[in-house]
Structure formats: C-alpha cells, structure tokens
Symmetry: D2
Subunit: 464 residues, 4 copies
C-alpha cells in the first residue's frame, strides 16, 4: 500500500467468495468510481470458474466510461495466496448450495412453518448457521495466520454469527459486518420527505438515525433530517397510509420478489413506538409465528412476500449467469452506478481518506449497555484511519428488550452449539425460536430431517 498525494495505490483486497455474482460486481463498480484508491483484488472461491469469470469482468470495469481508478484482478487458488499481505478482506459467500437453501427455507413448510427469507433466524437460519460457522472458523484462522492486521468486512448471512465466529476464533481481528437493510429504511424516509415536504436531492446519508439491535432486527430510537423529527413524520405517514406504502422504498436489484408495503414495520411502530429498520421480510422472522408468518395468506395480508428458493434460482441466479456471460462476451456492456453499499467508502475511511458514521455489526463493548458484552450487535460506528469505534446507542428500550434479548440469547447459544459441533445444543436453541410453533415432537422430526438434508455440510457435527 502506498500513500501519495492524497491517493492510496497498491492496495491488496482479498475477496473470499470472489466468484459472487452480485456483491462482487457491485464492489467492482464502486471501486472504479473511487478516484483515490487503486490496487489488486484477489478473488478466492471454491467455484474457481466463477472467480475466473469475475476476474475478466473486473478487468473490464476499468474500461467502463467514468471509471476513475484502475484495479487489477487475480484469482487466488487458496486462502493463503488470497490473504497474504492483504490490506482488506471481504467475505461474501454462499454457505452450501441452493439444495441446502431449499431445505432451510422450505422443509419447515410441511409443518406449517413459513419463512420469508430463512437465512438468519428460525429453522432455516439456525441450520444455515450450523454449516457456516465451521467455514468462518477456517477463515478466521487463515486471517490470523496470513494477514492479522487486515480489516475484514463481512457481507455473508447469518451476519451476526459470521462476525461472532471471526472474533471467537481470533479476538484481535479487525472485523465488522455490513448490511444494507437499515439503508432501506433511510431511503424510505427520503421518499416520505419528498412526498410531504417536497424536498428533492436528499441523500440517504443525510438522514441521521440512531441504530440499536441485531442484524435484520435493528431499530431506530431517533431519526432526523436536519431539524425534522422523522418519528413525527413517520407517525403521520402511518396514520394516513393504513394500507402501507404504494411501493417499496428500496427498489434496487437486491430487493427480492414483490415490493413490500412496509406494513409490518408500520404495525411494529404503532405498537412499540420505535422504527424497525430492516425489510419486512426480515422483521417478520424475528416475531412470533402468529403475527406475520402464520401462513402464506397472512404474509400476503401484511403486504410483503416470501422469497422462495426457486425464485432465487430462476429469477436471480439464472439471470446473473446469463448476465455474467454477456458481460464477458461484451454482449452486455457494464455500467457504473453507485451500488448504495458502504463498503468502498468504509475502505476509504479506514485508509484515512475521509471520515464517516454508519451502522455496522460489532461485538458489544458497551455501545448497548443492557445487552451482554461480547454479543454481536448493530449500531452506528465512526470510521477513521485504521479504526472503527461504536457510538453509544443507549439501552434497548424496555418495550423492545424482550424481543431483542431473546434473539441475542438464541444467537449466543447457537454460537456455543456450533463451536462445540453439538447438535443437541443446537436443537435446544431450535425449539425456542418464536417461529417454531410446533410441538416438541414435531420439532425434533423437523430438525432431524433438516440435518439429514444438509448432512454433507454437517459432517463434524455428525461424527460426535
């Protein structure tokens, strides 16, 4: 890494999961739009072909009109090569295949348990966690060995447990987890401000929020735009739009099927007085099953949609594979547009090129005093040269504490179960999840079946 004339060159970024279609392209696009950093991205992926393809795409980004910096791309065949000497490590993997995801999301349906995403909590989230943790243990050990002072940015879900595992294995790691769900709520405010006040050209970052909670179940305890208290605006909006948003505030490419009406969020606001800041699809999964996910009709009533794995495959994956080919062949030209993600700006802040405040996932060192120390929580943090410092978010309000502490407990317990490769402990957590509305006997059958379905990734658990 070389710092000269306000620019940093010769950066090395290791990208674990570098064959990713989606996150990787967003990063590539954001990188060439930053005029003050340049370097090489090492793409590591167990799907080497995907990494090779992305190398070609990445190189092409340098040629897109409007590119302000130049980035080289290398395919790394092992973690050692990818990580050695890295200044930054980005992790965005898919733990397992769509087959495992199919089991995560849909196996519970035979018991009447419907999940809108199934990657964070609930039956699907827990099984996904069990197979992800061993992978992250390996990453953490490799980072400790090959680039212990690198900054590590995680995008993979289950976010909380990925970050937790990194810190558990290597407590001195400089890692944090990023998620765009809060941004969606901020953009929602931007829309409301336009509607009510006619204010144009507001950037998402102009909305100032205090974030508290855990990933995908984050809440705002204050939200302001300049002097405007957005809680008041939101209250008015809710009163005037009992049917919710006509369309989703967040319409970027990462939004999954169906626009949401934000009605789950508005219902929570009405009852708790705080604003939940994640997509309704995620929020619903943290609540009791009988609220928003009792069956698919209820989901529909609440104005959002389930994300079936078939859709992920048919509408997203196939489309992206097609796109990838066309990008490489040149049939489809690459375009530059801001991804809306914070990653590149965070990198720039950590290099001292600017300062920023944004929400990230970090172990609790007191930023939320009434949650356990060491649990991974999501709050604002300031980003400066080589440091990320959480901002004091305050206590979780009394009315939310039960719901948030419950999930923190579930996550700490699944961390313990996964660390010990202990399926019985995992089952004990499984049945306490508020989505698991079935009897203990049925829950056992479901758990066993989901383990069986994904056993290829649970070998270390099954040996015990």
């Amino acid at each position: 890494m070389k710092y000269e004339n306000g620019k940093v060159s010769e950066l090395k970024i290791a990208y674990i999961g570098g064959g990713s279609k989606g996150w990787a392209w967003a990063l590539m696009s954001d990188l060439v739009q930053a005029d003050d950093i340049s370097g090489t991205v090492y793409l590591y992926d167990i799907d080497r072909k995907a990494a090779e393809d992305n190398k070609l795409i990445g190189q092409k980004y340098n040629e897109v009109e409007g590119a302000k910096s130049r980035w080289e791309y290398e395919v790394a065949h092992d973690l050692k090569t990818a990580l050695t000497g890295a200044d930054f490590v980005i992790i965005s993997i898919m733990p397992g295949t769509y087959d495992e995801m199919q089991s995560d999301v849909h196996a519970p349906e035979q018991y009447g348990i419907y999940q809108s995403v199934g990657d964070t909590v609930g039956a699907g989230g827990i099984l996904r966690t069990l197979r992800t943790v061993p992978m992250y243990e390996e990453f953490a050990r490799a980072i400790k060995e090959y680039c212990p002072t690198a900054w590590v940015i995680n995008y993979t879900n289950p976010m909380t447990l990925c970050v937790k595992t990194l810190y558990r294995v290597f407590p001195e790691i400089k890692a944090f987890g990023c998620c765009h769900e809060v941004f969606g709520t901020m953009k929602f405010f931007v829309k409301i401000l336009q509607q009510y006040y006619g204010i144009e050209n507001i950037q998402r970052e102009d909305v100032k929020v205090n974030v508290i909670g855990v990933n995908h179940f984050t809440w705002l305890t204050s939200a302001k735009y300049k002097h405007i208290d957005l809680f008041e605006v939101y209250k008015k909006f809710c009163a005037e739009h009992p049917e919710g948003m006509p369309q989703n505030a967040d319409d970027n490419w990462m939004t999954l099927p169906g626009k949401t009406t934000e009605r789950v969020k508005m219902d929570l606001f009405k009852r708790y007085g705080y604003i939940a800041a994640a997509g309704d699809r995620h929020l619903a999964e943290f609540c009791p099953a009988n609220w928003y996910l009792d069956n698919l009709d209820v989901v529909k009533e609440w104005g959002y949609g389930q994300t079936p794995v078939s859709w992920r495959i048919d509408a997203i994956l196939k489309h992206r594979i097609e796109e990838s080919k066309k990008f490489i062949s040149g049939e489809k030209p690459l375009e530059l547009r801001p991804s809306g993600e914070d990653g590149v700006n965070q990198i720039r802040a950590l290099l001292g090129l600017h300062e920023m405040i944004t929400n990230v996932n970090l172990p609790n060192v007191g930023q939320i005093p009434n949650l356990p120390l060491g649990a991974v929580v999501e709050t604002n943090a300031i980003f400066r040269t080589d440091e990320v410092r959480p901002v004091a978010a305050g206590n979780v309000p009394a009315c939310l504490y039960s719901m948030i502490a419950r999930i923190v407990g579930e996550q700490e317990a699944i961390d313990e179960a996964a660390a010990e490769r202990n399926l019985e402990k995992a089952f004990a957590v499984f049945v306490t999840d508020p989505q698991l509305k079935i009897s203990l006997k049925e829950a056992r059958a479901l758990f066993d079946e989901m383990v069986e379905n994904t056993k290829e990734y649970l070998a270390e658990y099954l040996q015990k």
Copy 2:
C-alpha cells in the same frame, strides 16, 4: 425491639394482607416455634373481618402445646397504624377477587390458550400485574413514610413485579421476595437421595444449590449434597424414570390440584442440562405455548395439572373458611408444624440471631452479570444482622439466556407500562409473551376483554 440474653422481644411485625388464610397461619405457627423472638403482629387487611378472625387464631397459637414464644395480635385499620414503628413488614395479598382471577386464568381459554396457574406471566399474569402494581405503589409510599428502615418481605405474586414496584417507588427500601418453589426441587432431591443412597433425615437445607433466574423460572447451575453431585444423580433418575416421579416431591398444603410427575422439569433438563427449580405448573408457563400447554390433553400427557380457579374456591377457599371457623370455635385444634417457609428464619437472621443462605428475589446489582442491572432476579443471598447480600450466581448459561432474558424484558416492560398506567404499552408486552399463540387481532380482542373483565381494578389505566 429489645435485645436481651440472646433473645429479641417487643418486635413489631406489620402484616399487609393479614386476613390471609394460609400464609398467615403458617407464619403464626412458625413464630411461636421460635424461642428467641416475641412481639406483636399488626394485621392489616381490606377484609377487616378476616383480620379480626386471624387475630383470634393468632392468639390461640400461643396456647398450642409446644409454643415457645408469645405473640400478640392487633388488627390495624389503616396502613399508618400497621406500619408505624414496624421492624418487619410482611406482604401477602390477593390482588383483586376470585372474579378477576377467573378472568386471568380462564378467559384466554376461549382462544385455546391454557394456563396452569396464570398469576405470573402470560395473559393472566400480565393482567394480574396491572392491577397489583398500583397497590404496591401505595404500600411502598406508606413504608417510606411510616417505617423506612423496616425489612419488607413479599410473598404476593407476581413476585418479580411486586418487588420491582417497591424498589421503583422507594429505592432505599430494604425489601426482598420469598418463594418456596425452589424448596420443592430441593425436597425432590431429598427424596431421590433417600431412594438411591438410603440416606435418611436429610433436611432440605442440606442440599446446596446455586440459583439463577427469575421467580417461578429459576434454574440451578449446581446442586450438591455433601460430596454428591446431584446433577449426576438427577441424570440417572431421569434415565431410569422416563415417566417421571410416581408422586410429587412436594406434598404440603400449598401444592395445588394433582400431584405432578416432574416430567416438564425432566424434559427441560434433558435438553438444557440445567435443572429448572419450580413446580412444573409454573415452568410450563414460561415456555412456548406449543411445548407443554398447547391444550389440556398436552398438560395431562406431561403429567401435571392446571389449577382451575373453581378448585381454588371449592377445594381451598371454602375449606379454609370452614377451618378458620373451627379454629376460632375450638372445634378444630391448632397444631404446630414447620411450614417449610423461610420467613421466620430470615427474620431471625436479620436480627442477628443466626446466619443463613437462601434464595430470594432482589434487584440485580451484579449477582447475574449478563442480565440488566435493576431487574428483579432470584439468586441465593446471605442473611445477617440487618443485611441481605446476594451471592454471585454467575452468568445465565448461553442455552438458557434466550428464555430468561425474554421474560426479564417482558417484566421490565410491564413495569414501565404499569408505572405509566399505559394499556397500550401493556398490550405491546402482552402479545410478545410466548404463550400468546394467537393472531394479533385475536390477541387484541382477548386483551380488551380481560381489561373489561377486571376494569374495577384498572380505573387509573382507563382514565388515560
């Protein structure tokens, strides 16, 4: 109060709810069995006749064979008279009448929600709390005014919220809450020890346990009898008795209908590795509805019973009214036997007559480091002259944290709702309870109905 020759005389004990049939008699009996304390008990009760009757019964206890000390009884017509100059205050009231209790326990049944006790958590517990808190605020203010240095012992349920309210209103209060549920588990160990080891004459107090949690959802993280690790013994017992206890370990008069088989407790142990230390009836109510309380058949399958209010009235209340008359008339002679309660021994310890360690409910000052400070928790404490100091119970284990923190959160939130007389906040808590397995709409209807049923006691809430 006078201390002479190792004895304390001229004690003043104020008994709020002094017309109680049951708790009051147990106290009277225990008092005269203590040879080193004597004094006067001031009985205060809104049912003045009941207090008058208890005065007569109390006086008679002095004459029972085996009585070692003498106690006077006075009926106090107001709190001021009862409390002024009191050394100890005992509170054991019934908040509301059996009509309200009928609503608490049985109104939810029309929605398929069954409660085994309904006085602590869940729909019934929450409604009971709403009407109890204002009463306890009054007690706290009166204690602050008339006897600020008295020790206050609470027996009323909801235990946690009663103690919380006392401390919220008068933070310097010297109060704690006592409950015999943990003792039941200790006696269960006594039985197992007899069965496996043939050890006779073990006292409940000889079993040494580390208690952690909240009232009625207390857990043991260690249990020993001398050198014997009772966790190992318990594990063996569970393996050898898949159908549970042939009969209940705790067969004193306070055990409500039906003997329990301890199967809920054993099921929890199998899954979590720690021993839940309360009656199965209580434990079940803290767990998801689908585990042990899905319907009355499930209750039966798990080998315990619901406590219907009709039984409380027919089997308990009527019987005791009859008994009371007979005690007064002399038709039925009073007898002395240890109640198994700790109250009188705690009083003796606070007077410096001996030292003891037992479990009580107190605000968290760090005895459970991973629960919020100020929340009322149940752990061991040492009792010495004029002090009760909690013992460091350690962190709630990861696998239990979700379930325990959830209820702590629920209780802190209901405290806030009750303090503000805010029914909307109360409803927000109501729907998060894991027993409320119904839709939000149904929950609203049920809540409104339960409020209507008990509105006589919720006037301050309804004015808002």
Copy 3:
C-alpha cells in the same frame, strides 16, 4: 426558534456569566461568523454592569465587517428571565472573586505546595469546587424549571464537577462540558506535521484523535492525520527535541503566562506511551507533587510556568477592562476571527445544520467501560440534531488506570462532600490528592485556613 431555508432564526441563548470578558466576546464573534443561525442572547451576570457592557459590545459585533448574521443582546436580571424559553444555555462563570482565587492558588505555597493553575484538582481545585457546586445546583434547578429541554454548554472550571452537579440535580438535563485543552495538542500536531512533512493548511479538525480521561487530564490513545500515525511522528519529535518545543503550539489569547515547551507532556509520553492532551500546566497538577511541581525551580526546569493570580489580575483582567471600554467607546474596533472554540459549531450541529465529532465532558454511560458509570469523563462524541452521543473510547490503558481512576475517585468523593455540604468529607478528599505532600497535621491547618479565606462562599458548609 424558526427553521427556514436551511437557516435557523429566533434562537434564544441564555448566557449565565454573560458579563464575562473573554469567553463572551469569543462567542459573540463566532456567532456573527455563522451565516445560518440568528437570534437573541440573554446575558445574565451577578455583575450586572459587566452584562450591560457586553450587551453593547455584542450589538457592535453585528456591525463588524464580515458579520454574516445578526444577534440581539438582552440583559436578564434574573435566571428566570434568562432561561425561560431558551434553546441553549451557556455557563461560563467565575465562582467567587480574585480574592478566593488568590487563596486557592497561593495559600498552599506557605507549605511548599505550588500549583500551576489551581482550578481543577489539588488544594485550590477542591476549595474552588466547594464554592462552585452550590451555584451549579441553583443553575440546574432553574434549568429544570424554566427550560428543561434546552441544551446546556458548560465552560466553567472545575469542568468535571460543574457537569456532574448539573446531572446530579437534574438527571434528564441535556448538558455537556467543553474545553479547548485537547485542541491545543491537536494544534501541536499541526505544527509538527508542517515541520516534518511540509504540509500546510491543515486544520486542527483534520487531526483525528481518540480521547479518554477526565477534563484537563485527557489522554490520546490514537492520533492520525490521514494515513499518518501521529504517535510515530510524536515519538520522533520527542527523540529529536529533548528540550521540548521552542515555543508553544497554542498561542491564542487564552494561553496564560509563559509559553510552554511541552516537556511535561513529552516526559509522560516517554514513560506511558500515550499522549496527554492538555496544557502542561494542567497535566502537572494531576501528577504526584514530586514530579513537576515540587517547587518553582522544578516548574522552570520542566519548561512551563505557574499562572499567578496577580498576573491574571494585572495582565489579563486589567487589560480586558480597558479593552471593554475601548470596544464600547469605539476607540478599539472589534475584529472577527475564529476563536478556535467549538461552541457555535456544536450549537449548529444540535440544530441539524451539520454533523460533527469532538471531545466533550459527559457522564459515563459506558464510553469508558473500566471507569465507574455516572462519573463525568471526557471522550469524543458525535453531535447531530438534538443529540450528543459519546463514542466508545475503550478502556483506560492499564498503565494510566491508576492515575485516572484516582482522580475520578477524588472527584466523585468531592461531589458527595459538596452535595452534603460536609467539610469533613471534603478534608478527607483533600489529603488524598497527590499534590498534598505535607503531613496530616499541616494539611488540616492548610485546609482550615483555605476554608476561612473563602468562608463567604462556604456559608452552607459552615452552618453544619
């Protein structure tokens, strides 16, 4: 207060101590340089003439070339008038007169105790605190009554105890304390960066520091300018300048007699590896007497100077009185230049006009996890619309903990002594201060003498 077109008008600022010569003028100058805020400043001062003079001067600032906004000035004859409806309250008073200050700073010299400032800790700081706390209790009560939602900015020393008293009396107050001492160290870095790297036009704010400690004994655990680690630069500077700075980094009008060489700071850095961020005059007073303040020769050796009260009177006070007259008469024209203080920018941030991160004094809510909750500490905080949130500063490093926790303890104890108006408790703190290198008997004599000297302001203590 009116918000329109990105500007706020009709602000009401109450200035307690509004007759101040120095701080008040700096504020007036900064106010008219801000183009997006305007309103009225209510000047309250027990020296009403001084407030009247400042009203005239304040009005004149509107006419100075370069003034971008207009501010009205009113003299308030009582706190009620000053505070009612205030949006902001600024407090900058002199507690007592120069006579009391004379005793604070110089009375201890007869016992060989020399103080460089004498307004924060040590014999002088403690006596000053005793007379300041009752005044701040009055301010807090008045703010609670007349403008409970106003933001309160304190500039008075002893900073820590002033802020502590405000929060003790009115826990919901929105108050913080500001001090420019850390800025001095930041400017020192600016100078070094120019010297070593030839970088010009660096603003103090471009230096990014992590601040930890208590006011006047604040430490930096990291310091960066862009990618440059200023700890490395500082280390080099210390090695190359064993005699310290040729002249002081901080040469604004508030710097008291003599330029400092920064040698105290450099000596501390050499030994502890962290950078103390306050003037040497302040730092020395927090260290054992034998280090830097054993006698005036030692002071001189370490390259800094004592601030005698005579100098404050002769060089500062008289000069300013003269200046005040000339400003009013027009003999001396007012000039606009940035004061270097953060106050006006903080006000703008709290109004939502921009966002900033700066160091302030606030009760510890966990920003420094290993110091007691509730103690007033100095760390960074983010300023946004109507909120100031501390940034997690991390634990006090082990090597500094003894020195910092000691002073925190001293301040918490003097708070208790002052709150109770208890001179015996105050004496108990007095003798533990590390500057009090005399025998217990001498300390008693000194304390009694200093109380006698300032008894006019200690009436409530002496009645006890």
Copy 4:
C-alpha cells in the same frame, strides 16, 4: 479421594513451598485437628532439605496428643510429582532470598522512603512482584497440565498479583488467595466486645463483617456482633482511646515486631467513616508517604513498627530453624492449637463437609461493581462443595474509591509489565506509587539499583 461415612480419606494435597517454617507447621497442626479428612501431603520446595525436615515434622504431628486424623507426608522432587492427581494445592513460597528482601525493604531508605513491610506495594512490593510473577506463571502452567481441577490456595505475597497471575495464565483455574489480616480486625472487635460488654467466649467468626477492597487494604462497610453495630462500638472506642490500643489485638506468632496500637486504623476511621481491616503496618503503605511513613519517627508516633529484614532473619528465621531441629530431634514437643487460619476449614467446605463464609481474594466478577472486572479483589465468599462464590460486597464508597482504585490500577499495570517482562512499564508504575515521594530522577536511580540488587531473579526482564 474417598468419601465414606461423612469422612474424606486419601486426599492428596500438594504444598508448593513445602519447606516453609511457619505456614507449613500451622497447616500440619490444623490438619490433624480435623477428624473428618485424611490423606497425603506432597511437599515441594526448591530447598529440598527444608522439605525433608518438614516431612519428618509432619509425620510427628500424627503422634501429638489430640491428633484426630492421620496424614502422610512425601517430598516431591518436582512439580509434576507434587501436582499430579492433587485435590488441593497450597502455595506459600518466599520469592527469592532474604538478600532480595533486604533490597526490597531497605534500599529505598537511602532516599528517605521507609516501608513497614515492603512486600505488597511501594518500591519493595513492586520489585518483589517482578520476581514472583514468572514463578507463578510456572505454577499455573504446571497446575493446568497436572491437576487442572484441583483447588489452589495461595498464601504468598504479593497476594493480589499471585492470584492474578494464576488466573491470567490459566483462566479456568479454581484458585483463591487467603490472608489473615482481616481476622486481626475481627479479633480486635472481640476484645472490644469483652471490654465494653463483658461478653466472653466470642469466636472471631461470630463477628460478621462485609469486606471490600484489595488484599492488605481491605475495608469493612459493616460489622456486627449479633444485634450490636460494631461501627458504633468502634466509634466510642476511638473517642475514648485517643492513644489507641494498649496492646495489639492480634498477638499470635505471625505478628511481627512490636505490638501496634491500631492508631493508623483509628485515624483512617475518623476521617473516612469505614474501618480498615488489616494491620497498621500494611495500611500505612497504601497511603501517601507523608501520612504515616514519612520517617521512622512518624512511624513511632503512630504507634506501630517497621518490620526490618534483620529482625525477620534474627528473630524469626533463626528461631524457627532452631525450632525445626528441636521438633525433629524431639527436644521440643509439637503442640496442637488452632492456627487461626481458615485453610483447613476451607478445604473441608470445598469437600462438602460444612459450609462457611469468609473473605478471600478472587478476580472481580461483579462482587465490587465499581472496580474493573478481572482485577483481583478481596471480599466475602461462600464456600460449599467444590465452589467458592463471592458475595456482593457493593460499590467501594465514594470517599475510599480514589485510594482503592489507584492501587487496583497499579496492580493491573504491574501485572501487564511483569507479563511482558517489561522493566520500563514497571518503572512507570513504580513512580506513581504514593510512597515514592522522590523526584523522577531519584526514582529512576532507586529503581535501577533495586533491579541490579535482585537481578538474579530478573533475568528474563533484563534480556529484553
């Protein structure tokens, strides 16, 4: 270990420092007075001859009239032999020889620094710590390897740092530190109670105290004998005995030269309102140099004495060597009397033979909420089968916080310095100690000299 009929046999106790004259004999004597435990003590000592001698003496104790149990003694030539299979480990060593102790205690005198004991804090305590920590790291590693579930009782000074090192190296260790200093204060109360109330036959254990602080600077925040508040009694005693105790309350063989008058303790009580509970010799060393240790005349004035190393050698060591010979030869018969130490009773409690509450040194898990977690503190704890649980001691009172937090900080910093074998860090701590009343330059010279004097034990530090 075998448990039968309420007795435990075949215990294995490893005694590190088993050649000790004094502590070892006290243990031997206490062991044979316990009728319910028996087994073998493995004596390990770098002075093997001393261990051999103690083996002979230990065996003889079995024959003393009144011996109720039988103990075998073995000399272990290495830690592995001593520790393998041990149920308990006792550590009581002298770190270094009397030469090093001579330097610790007396080298500072040439700079006018007088120490009454010199083994805990101050110049002597710090140097002693530096050579002790590496030894304790070795013990901790060996315990982890050979007997990880054994209970470890430490008697060596510096107590706090010995216990800290054990936990730092092996966090799961079951270790605690015991010290009889608090007992001395309890015995003092026993004497006062006899004097004022004529109560005879009070046992030290009948006095109930709440202990808070760090070893040798422990304080009582409450003290009761039955209903009697000993703070009131103590206050009366202090008023009536301005010259202190006619003779020391604690006259057992471990009291070093000169009886103390308790005047230091009484002076502290008068000022702080809490009772310091350690010998005056220890207390004085935690206070500023100018209070009680300014010179030997001051020491005398305060009615206590320094413990010169020459006295340790001449009066204690020589006497004991002589005694040892006589014990072995039979010239002097062994006698049984209670040592007053808690060790054997603690062992019995940990075996489940009884329950006890006593003060011990343990890492802070919240027993003192306003001191840093992990710091070793002294409070009460309950001892039960295989567990030691601290009792909530409450916050350090405001008036004591400065003095106690300061020393906690010093100890945490010296732990870091020693762990890193970093003499510069050690020096940084050295100069902050309140006894180091000399200039920085002199302090440097003294430190270097003391390092030189004890360099044989500081090799690992000097290699750096």
